[in-house]
């Protein structure tokens, strides 16, 4: 079976969502800042996948949110978020032979919004904000609960990874 990955990188909240072809999701949110010394973030993302029983399966695609400086200003966490993103990029290429598609938040939300609209989804917010993410994730995956908007974002990106693969 094919499966897909969506990642919303962060320094205190890094969300991931593994999605298989049948629409089953496995989500989680990590705090890379609090990981013990010697534990690399990709190890923890991979660890979660192990319980998905995917040994015979292949990761077909991954989408990660591209970091954008807010108002063009960097802060101490900007560098750390980019470092973690770089780690995930190399891990995906090295372990799974997958080059993740990097998409800015506005771009993936805009694309998903248009796609889901055709299926009857209506954005409850007038922006592409957290409210949109949670509503879009619930619409795309009605059988799942999303604890945070980070997990919702990751699930939406996994959904897009599958869309891109099937396009």
């Amino acid at each position: 079976m094919k499966y897909f990955l969506g990642v919303d990188p962060g320094w205190t909240n890094l969300a991931y969502a593994w999605l298989n072809e049948e629409g089953e999701l496995l989500m989680g949110c990590l705090n890379p800042k609090a990981l013990p010394r010697g534990i690399l973030t990709p190890f923890k993302v991979a660890e979660a996948m192990e319980s998905f029983d995917l040994f015979e399966d292949t990761l077909e695609g991954a989408v990660m949110e591209r970091f954008v400086y807010y108002d063009g200003v960097s802060n101490p966490d900007s560098e750390r978020i980019l470092m973690v993103t770089g780690q995930l990029q190399f891990w995906l290429a090295d372990h799974h032979a997958v080059v993740p598609v990097m998409i800015k938040a506005f771009d993936w939300k805009n694309r998903l919004s248009k796609h889901l609209y055709k299926q009857g989804f209506r954005n409850p917010s007038d922006r592409l904000d957290k409210k949109f993410s949670l509503a879009a994730a619930r619409f795309a995956f009605p059988d799942y609960e999303f604890k945070t908007d980070h997990e919702a974002d990751a699930a939406c990106m996994a959904y897009i990874a599958r869309l891109l693969h099937n396009a």
Binding site: G38, L40, P42, F43, F67, S74, E79, L82, M83, V84, T85, G86, Q87, L88, Q89, F90, W91, A93, D94, V99
Partner: protein, 166 residues
């Protein structure tokens, strides 16, 4: 480093690995534990490929110095592209070769330290680092290195830092 085998004591050379990331280029320098230059070169991503530079360095390490790295350090510029490359390198090095990678924030400070040890201090003079100082010092320190820009000297000086933090 001396290691015992069944019949003899033999000398196993350990290496200090220095990496400098600037403008999408990764300069690599390997110094032996006596500080002599062993290898130096630059890697760059192929067009449309985001990981080929780090893959190239992985291959280089695997082929040449796999089990002999005693310290690793990296410097990176603050641009988005270079920090992403630094993250890739950090994961590759720590997951395969070393437990710790020292992040060198200021290779010019290391350069000045090296100059102070040699009797000069260009920062104290107020003149700052001059290109000629860098070429002269690095040509003397790292025999055989070709210096046409800052990339390789920065990697060599970061390799010195790797040795100091190992």
């Amino acid at each position: 480093m001396l290691c015992s085998s069944s019949y003899e004591w033999r000398f196993i050379m350990k290496y200090h690995l220095g990496l400098s990331i600037n403008c999408g280029k990764i300069a690599v320098c390997v110094l032996d534990e006596n500080g002599a230059l062993t290898e130096a070169g630059t890697f760059e991503n192929l067009p449309g490929d985001t990981t080929s530079a780090v893959n190239g360095i992985d291959h280089f390490i695997k082929t040449n110095i796999k089990d002999s790295i005693s310290g690793a350090a990296m410097y990176h510029s603050k641009s988005t592209r270079d920090i992403l490359l630094a993250g890739q390198l950090l994961y590759m090095l720590r997951s395969k070769y070393v437990n710790r990678v020292h992040i060198e924030n200021d290779w010019i400070r290391t350069f000045n330290d090296v100059m102070v040890e040699a009797g000069g201090d260009c920062l104290k003079d107020g003149d700052g680092i001059q290109w000629a100082d860098l070429v002269d010092t690095c040509t003397t320190l790292f025999r055989g290195v070709q210096i046409s820009n800052c990339y390789i000297p920065a990697a060599c000086l970061t390799a010195i830092s790797a040795g100091r933090h190992s």
